[in-house]
């Protein structure tokens, strides 16, 4: 047998090993002059990034996520030591704090922290604002076709009452707490309902709604807008800012649509900036957060995103469209908005069980 046949191959294989080693070592550590930002897709004005890069002579590397579970998975998969600033939504903030994935902020490095609106200085999701600084805020309401529903009620009944809409296709959000909250509000338990009884009733209502012939599916805010513009659905749940951004880009497609905050209550959300526990460059992360807290930068961000600014000092620089509904809800609607409660432990488990039942049936 040709025993020695394979030796040359083996040798060349061994000589390739150092190459592999090089690749492992390379890129393992982040450079000092880089800021790693992990944000929602299409949620940052490129001009702001340019300005920050210029002022601090650094490079900003942006990464994007489409959902919070996706972001959480990435953080757990080593991202906790790879990103400097992340932008989760309010009801994920407590979860991130409890699991130790984020670090407390050093407020002495945030000179413009005073610019934050009073409403957001001591939020329920992060008492004292020790871990997070608000980035943008918005609402999740119902968007509907005004041709189909010329006299639409200002109510969740547009989705949940079969008499109100017996024929036209409609969708609800795919995010469990967002949709269950709506069902709770419709049933009179309040948008921020908690507890088995209320949830069970809400789940029942949703299963009923699913059974209707014109139920189109669980569609999240952004795809829902596309379906609305194409006439695939005639009523769905989505976000006020994305709605305006889409309308701006395709005025024809959204000509006969309207955004509504149901009188029974709806969601108000905040996306907040946080620093992962082992961020490679926490100093630069603080500098970035403080940069966005500056009055003009904060306004620039909102003007780009069509979302309301949590920055009180930014107000004079905001475009007019941002100072009126649907971006800035009326005072009455403001009273009706609630944060989604952050669940943990048994509550979270019960909720998830009910929600998967809703989706499965």
């Amino acid at each position: 047998m040709p025993h020695s046949f394979h030796r040359p191959f083996l040798r060349s294989a061994l000589s390739a090993l150092p190459l592999v080693g090089l690749m492992l070592a390379g890129g393992a550590q982040a450079a000092d002059d880089k800021l790693y930002l992990f944000n929602w897709t299409e949620y940052m004005d490129p001009a702001i990034i340019d300005a920050f890069e210029e002022r601090y002579d650094v490079e900003v590397v942006q990464n994007y996520f489409n959902s919070q579970p996706e972001m959480l998975a990435k953080l757990n998969a080593g991202g906790v030591s790879q990103y400097d600033v992340i932008v989760p939504s309010n009801y994920y903030v407590p979860r991130l704090i409890e699991t130790g994935l984020v670090q407390p902020l050093d407020k002495s490095k945030l000179a413009h922290l005073g610019n934050v609106m009073d409403t957001f200085k001591d939020p329920g999701y992060d008492p004292g604002g020790d871990y997070s600084v608000p980035y943008q805020w918005g609402t999740t309401g119902i968007i509907y076709n005004t041709d189909t529903f010329p006299d639409a009620p200002k109510s969740w009944s547009l989705l949940f009452d079969a008499n109100e809409n017996p024929d036209y296709p409609f969708a609800v959000a795919g995010d469990g707490q967002v949709t269950m909250g709506g069902a709770c509000a419709y049933l009179g338990h309040g948008y921020d309902c908690i507890g088995l009884d209320a949830w069970r009733e809400a789940a029942k209502l949703l299963i009923e709604a699913k059974g209707r012939a014109n139920f189109s599916g669980f569609t999240d805010g952004t795809p829902a807008l596309q379906q609305l513009s194409r006439g695939v659905v005639h009523a769905a749940m989505s976000f006020n800012g994305d709605y305006l951004a889409f309308k701006d880009e395709d005025p024809e497609g959204f000509a006969n649509t309207a955004f509504m905050i149901p009188d029974e209550g709806a969601e108000m959300w905040v996306d907040a900036m946080m620093i992962p526990a082992e961020a490679p460059n926490p100093d630069l992360a603080h500098a970035f957060i403080d940069f966005l807290l500056e009055a003009e930068v904060g306004a620039q961000l909102s003007n780009y995103n069509y979302y309301a600014s949590p920055n009180a000092a930014a107000e004079p620089y905001l475009d007019e469209v941002l100072t009126q509904p649907p971006v800035q809800p009326s005072d009455e609607d403001m009273q009706r908005l609630r944060f989604i409660p952050s669940l943990s432990g048994d509550e979270l488990q019960i909720f998830q069980q009910l929600w998967s039942e809703v989706q499965a049936r």
Partner: protein
């Protein structure tokens, strides 16, 4: 059924297959030239999305990452896979069937399982040693490990198909191991090596799931970039890059066809 009827039925299926394969691609190409930013209405012909593409740094760097990852991983997989394929052939009389099954396993495993497993493993290693933080390095390792079985199997089946006396002949003629490798083994294996490396390259370029779980902040590949960008709908910019990729793949396919013809003509 008559033979004639059968033939007509098959022809219909052939055209149906072509329609379902290529019509969706045609739609992508058409909308990449759309003047407006809409996936529903075609308003006019324009090249604006191609111009925007050229200025999109994130997208271009994702494309660069994709190519780098595909080239490096498929070359490493070619080397290691060939060694394994040869080893499997060389020791096939030793009842190493279980070893072969071990190599098949990643082929059968769903990508998502493999991706999550790789991710969990890298996280543990990083926690213990500080090595292997997610990035291009971990992506290369992950890609190489799912490419190796393909290369190994291609090489192995080529070797099994050879006349065993060829090996003896090479030895009888006093060829040194190195000469045997250079003048006999590599030339005979060349078709297998070429298809192995191209298959690995394509698999790597295509892969989203495994890349997604093993990538780091600076190693987003094209599929990862596109996934991140579709939240606001498929923009014509993405149609434009898809069109360019379709064109590139078509060019490569035509080139390899011509090359093959040339060789066949000469042979």
């Amino acid at each position: 059924m008559t033979r004639h009827g059968l033939r007509r039925g098959l022809r219909v299926f052939w055209w149906l297959t072509l329609v379902f394969l290529y019509l969706p691609l045609a739609v992508v190409v058409l909308y990449s030239f759309n003047a407006s930013n809409s996936a529903a209405h075609f308003t006019g012909v324009s090249l604006r999305w191609y111009y925007r593409l050229m200025g999109n740094e994130a997208l271009l760097s994702a494309l660069g990452n994709s190519l780098l990852l595909a080239v490096v991983s498929s070359l490493i997989a070619l080397l290691l896979g060939t060694l394994i394929g040869y080893g499997m052939f060389h020791h096939r009389w030793r009842r190493l069937g279980w070893l072969v099954v071990l190599i098949y396993l990643p082929l059968v495993l769903p990508d998502i399982v493999f991706g999550i497993a790789e991710m969990a493993f890298f996280v543990q290693v990083e926690r213990l040693t500080g090595w292997l933080s997610p990035g291009l390095g971990t992506m290369i390792i992950a890609h190489v490990s799912f490419q190796i079985p393909f290369v190994a199997l291609i090489v192995y089946s080529r070797l099994v198909g050879l006349d065993p006396s060829l090996f003896e002949a090479a030895k009888d003629l006093y060829a040194s191991p190195w000469q045997r490798a250079c003048h006999f083994l590599v030339p005979t294996l060349r078709p297998a090596l070429i298809s192995g490396v191209f298959l690995s390259f394509t698999l790597s370029l295509d892969d989203f799931v495994i890349s997604f779980f093993t990538s780091g902040p600076e190693s987003a590949t094209l599929p990862i970039y596109i996934w991140g960008a579709i939240r606001k709908g498929v923009s014509p910019e993405i149609n434009a890059i898809a069109t360019l990729m379709i064109a590139a793949v078509a060019l490569v396919a035509v080139a390899s066809l011509l090359l093959g013809r040339q060789r066949a003509g000469r042979g």
